[in-house]
Symmetry: C2
Subunit: 81 residues, 2 copies
């Protein structure tokens, strides 16, 4: 069975996010003063062939650790649809 | 009140996603043959000051249209926590 797995990779909360800061500056220049913080990460959708959603999640976790996320700067969250 | 709004920006389904294809190649080289498709987009977290979650969602939608997403190549989904 094929599962659609979402992996959200975000910069660690303790770290600055220069891309997010730049986008926040852009929004404020556009007059959107009600946005007080912006953080930008990646959203990765994997199509995983597996016997159960648990196994699909394990495969996505392995992929995240090996390739998708850099643990020095990022954390990841996985959800299976 | 401050709402945390998630904006998911993904490449349109009709378009190729070269970054995703490259990552899929990488995963297959690592021996993870059960992953059959990868698409990569952005995940943006906004802290929005608004009176209700409906208004926060509207502000995030305006920000997405004006700056965060390029409608020629991307679509976006908004969820408010």
């Amino acid at each position: 069975m094929i599962f659609s797995v979402q992996v959200k990779v975000m910069p660690l909360r303790e770290l600055l996010d220069p891309q997010g800061k730049a986008v926040m500056g852009g929004l404020q220049n556009l007059g959107m003063k009600s946005v007080s913080d912006v953080r930008i990460g990646k959203n990765i959708t994997l199509q995983v062939e597996a016997e159960s959603s648990e196994l699909a999640k394990q495969i996505a976790e392995e992929a995240s650790k090996k390739l998708l996320a850099n643990p020095v700067m990022e954390y990841f969250e996985i959800s299976v649809n």
